[in-house]
């Protein structure tokens, strides 16, 4: 029989079909009977295949731009996210789809269990599905590390340490996974190989078998069948495709909604800030209190807390034993399902597990964000009492004059307060992590680009990032650093026992110092040994005498010292710098006590004003305030941070002191300098 006349395209198709038999193959793939017709409840498997396909496409393109090593991973991800056209979208889709995949997995599993699709003869396919689930979770876990930012780094430390407590093989397993005894290049290369090679290749293998076995037994139709049988193509595939489109729409929505919101608020939209986050570069020497696993692993994180106080046993039970038992119970479902009431048990068990996961996730979120919805004002009394009594119950009872009921109520509030404090610490850490991340990105965009040593070196030397940390650790015990105009400034300054160093060296700061009202106040010498010193009496007695110190002369000194500190001199006094220098040097003015350049004043406990407030001067005084150039024998309580007895280490390294000096001077990179 001669086939009907066909166009050239048809002839090519015939040619190919003759040689490959593709039509039969396609027919086999597409024309599958769907008992009872196409249904929405069958779409989850297809959406998972689609999600995986999306991950393969976006993953390959990300691979084309990613460089796995401790000095290039963060840097290349930064480049993708912030510099490459469309990189934010590519990374965003990969990141959000990974999360969507976990949700779709849960839905698919739920549908299979509720429909009883795991029962004979589909047991093997159910087990294959469980393996696929583990593979997907494995890819999620390994992918989290690849940007080599603080978030991924610390989450991976925890995850691999938990792997290390597996009995017998744990330590070796851990060392193999991280590629040595320390985290570094080989942790990244191995995680990358797992994430983009071993795991997806294995997944494809299992997926092919999963689908083949699925086809062998056909679709497990949910009873009762209310409609006539349908076809996979196009009936079910249409529903599947609509579901895929919906999944993609949700993924794009998650990426783009913040942009739309910003646009509606009239703010500028930076594509680099959309999609996936990129934290500050991984730094093993920097605490990261915002460390949390990705949300779909939060339940495990929270579950571990149940075993607080159990020590290593708790970790083993919480992270390995119980999850292992749950997986084993799930694997046994097909067998249990054959028993009387077995299916009901399986459904109940799965729902209970999901409810448990949901509950634990909720608890984790509640603990972390508790401070956001607790009214702190209502706890004010409890807080005050806590501060007064130091949390001591006996003292509390005494303070309340034996009011038992109230004591109980207060004690309950103390517990709430403790939760609020913990939550607030987490929220503060998240805020700091965000600020650090934004700063790292800002620094990576400098015109000189990132040095070959990597971004971590830049971040560690950045005054804006490290200055406040060093100050908090070494200086804030005495000094305040707060804008006098800020809301809580007064209390902070009053509580300090040395000068407020906010904008130290600026014209405003110097004006305050030369102000008779302020010089002996807490923001300057008020809480120090210099409170009754010569400088205070000079400002109060001499400077107030308009005959010797007319207003213009004080302005001139302010201008000269601000110039000395390298701070901007306000334009209205900019012309007075030279006059100011003469006054500072003159032996009947400042030069009577202070040395300034070559004025010959003796150094005897009054700081040398040459280069006062500048970088070199600040580094010098932080390193050794008791040096004769600074306070000499008159040094109050300030430690000599850069000087140590022989054989001992100074409190601060030269680099740390320089960072502090630069931070105090406000000398750090600003993007507007471009």
């Amino acid at each position: 029989m001669t086939p009907p006349r066909r166009g050239p395209l048809g002839r090519v198709a015939d040619f190919l079909d003759d040689r490959t038999g593709y039509r039969a193959l396609l027919h086999e793939a597409l024309y599958e009977r769907v008992p009872g017709g196409a249904r929405w409840r069958y779409v989850w498997g297809s959406t998972l295949v689609f999600a995986f396909l999306t991950q393969v496409i976006t993953g390959l393109f990300l691979w084309a731009n990613y460089a796995p090593s401790a000095q290039t991973a963060w840097e290349s991800v930064f480049f993708i996210q912030h510099e490459m056209a469309g990189g934010w979208l590519l990374r965003g889709i990969h990141h959000v789809m990974a999360q969507a995949m976990v949700v779709l997995l849960a839905l698919h599993l739920l549908q299979v269990v509720i429909d009883g699709a795991y029962k004979a003869p589909r047991e093997v396919n159910f087990w294959l599905g469980l393996v696929l689930m583990m593979l997907v979770l494995g890819m999620a876990l390994t992918g989290y590390l690849l940007p080599w930012d603080q978030k991924g780094y610390w989450a991976t430390i925890v995850a691999t340490n938990l792997a290390g407590i597996v009995p017998v093989v744990g330590p070796s397993l851990q060392q193999l996974v991280i590629g040595g005894p320390e985290y570094g290049h080989h942790t990244l290369t191995r995680f990358f190989a797992l994430h983009a090679g071993f795991l997806p290749a294995t997944l494809v293998l299992f997926l092919v078998v999963h689908l083949a076995v699925f086809r062998r037994h056909g679709l497990h139709a949910k009873q009762p069948l209310t409609k006539p049988d349908g076809m996979f193509w196009p009936d079910q595939l249409l529903k599947d495709a609509v579901a895929m489109l919906a999944v993609m729409a949700v993924v794009l929505g998650v990426i783009l909604v913040p942009a739309a919101r910003a646009m509606l608020a009239g703010e500028a939209v930076h594509p680099g800030h959309l999609g996936a986050e990129l934290g500050a570069p991984a730094d093993p020497s920097q605490p990261y209190a915002a460390a949390r696993p990705e949300w779909y692993f939060l339940f495990l994180f929270q579950f571990l807390k149940v075993f607080e106080g159990w020590g290593a046993t708790g970790e083993f039970v919480g992270a390995i034993l119980v999850p292992g038992l749950i997986m084993a119970a799930m694997a046994l479902m097909p067998i249990v399902g054959g028993w009387r009431l077995g299916h009901r048990f399986n459904v109940a068990f799965t729902l209970a597990i999901l409810a448990g996961v949901g509950l634990l996730t909720g608890l984790a979120l509640r603990e972390d964000y508790y401070a956001l919805w607790v009214d702190r004002a209502a706890l004010a009394e409890a807080e005050t009492l806590h501060d007064q009594t130091g949390g001591d119950r006996v003292k509390l009872a005494a303070a309340l004059g034996g009011d038992r009921a109230k004591a109980t109520a207060i004690e309950r509030q103390w517990k709430t307060l403790e939760k609020v404090r913990r939550s607030q610490a987490f929220l503060d850490a998240v805020k700091l992590a965000k600020a650090d991340a934004a700063r790292a990105v800002e620094l990576a965009g400098r015109p000189e680009r990132i040095p070959p040593a990597g971004m971590l070196a830049v971040v560690r030397g950045d005054p804006l990032m490290q200055g406040p940390r060093l100050f908090a650790q070494h200086c804030a015990g005495c000094h305040a650093h707060v804008d006098p105009l800020a809301a809580d400034a007064e209390a902070v300054i009053a509580a300090s026992s040395a000068a407020n160093l906010f904008a130290f060296g600026s014209a405003d700061w110097i004006r305050g110092l030369l102000d008779p009202e302020q010089v002996a106040g807490p923001a300057y010498f008020g809480n120090t040994a210099h409170k009754d010193g010569e400088m205070v009496s000079f400002v109060r007695d001499d400077l107030t005498d308009e005959a010797t110190w007319p207003r213009a002369d004080i302005d001139a000194v302010v201008a000269a010292l601000a110039a000395e500190a390298g701070r901007p001199v306000p334009p209205e006094i900019a012309g007075l710098v030279e006059r100011g220098r003469e006054l500072v040097a003159a032996d009947d003015r400042c030069g009577g006590c202070h040395r300034f350049r070559d004025n010959g004043a003796e150094l005897s406990g009054e700081p040398d004003l040459t280069g006062w407030g500048g970088r070199e001067w600040l580094v010098g005084i932080i390193a050794d305030p008791a040096h004769e150039r600074f306070y000499g024998h008159a040094n109050d309580r300030m430690p000599r941070f850069g000087v140590a007895a022989e054989g001992e280490l100074p409190q601060l390294t030269r680099e740390q002191i320089e960072i502090l000096a630069d931070w105090l001077r406000g000398a750090w990179y600003r993007p507007s300098q471009r």
């Binding site: 024309y31 495709a241 609509v242 489109l245 680009r449």
Partner: protein
């Protein structure tokens, strides 16, 4: 040619079995179009985002050609024999900035008594390999495909190279600083075309 059996379950063959199936078949056609459209639309974002990023290198330009100090006149003997000098420049490689790094090499030579310096790029115009200078036979030779060049960079026939060695603009400052305009040219073509 074996004929595919008619399959009553297949909508494709439904019309064969039941000629009244035409309206169902039309509905089927609409479903097919919709399914392909939805599936295609859903797959579009990852593909577009991927290609968008993949094509990013096309919008990047190399650094502009500048005169770089390569040597001092005294370091180039006036014997007409080329000497190899590294070219040191700041370089940006994607996200990394390298300060004062060797980025390539040039051959410099000058004739007896002359202050004029000839600068030749060490990159072979044929396929971009690094041309070596062979002192024994006083000629340049590329190790990859044996392109040979005379001392002043002229082509020695037969040669796979389509053009002589690329000369670079070169100027000598009053204090004897030799500066070369560092440029790369497209390989494999007869004309000398600046690359990037």
């Amino acid at each position: 040619m074996p004929r595919r059996p008619v399959d009553a379950r297949s909508p494709r063959d439904a019309a064969v079995v039941d000629p009244d199936h035409a309206s169902a078949s039309r509905r089927g056609f609409l479903a097919k179009v919709l399914a392909v459209a939805c599936g295609g639309l859903a797959t579009l974002p990852p593909v577009v985002a991927g290609l968008w990023t993949f094509l990013d290198p096309l919008r990047r330009q190399g650094s502009a050609a500048t005169f770089l100090r390569v040597a001092d006149l005294a370091a180039i003997p006036d014997d007409g024999v080329p000497r190899q000098f590294p070219v040191i420049a700041d370089r940006v490689d994607a996200w990394t900035g390298f300060a004062a790094e060797p980025v390539g090499a040039v051959y410099l030579r000058r004739e007896q008594g002359s202050r004029a310096v000839q600068a030749l790029s060490a990159t072979c115009p044929h396929a971009g390999c690094f041309i070596g200078f062979e002192r024994a036979v006083d000629c340049f030779r590329c190790p990859c495909h044996n392109s040979s060049f005379t001392l002043d960079g002229g082509i020695v026939a037969p040669s796979p190279s389509p053009r002589p060695m690329d000369t670079l603009e070169c100027r000598v400052g009053r204090n004897g600083q030799v500066e070369v305009k560092w440029q790369r040219f497209r390989a494999g073509v007869a004309e000398k075309v600046v690359q990037g």
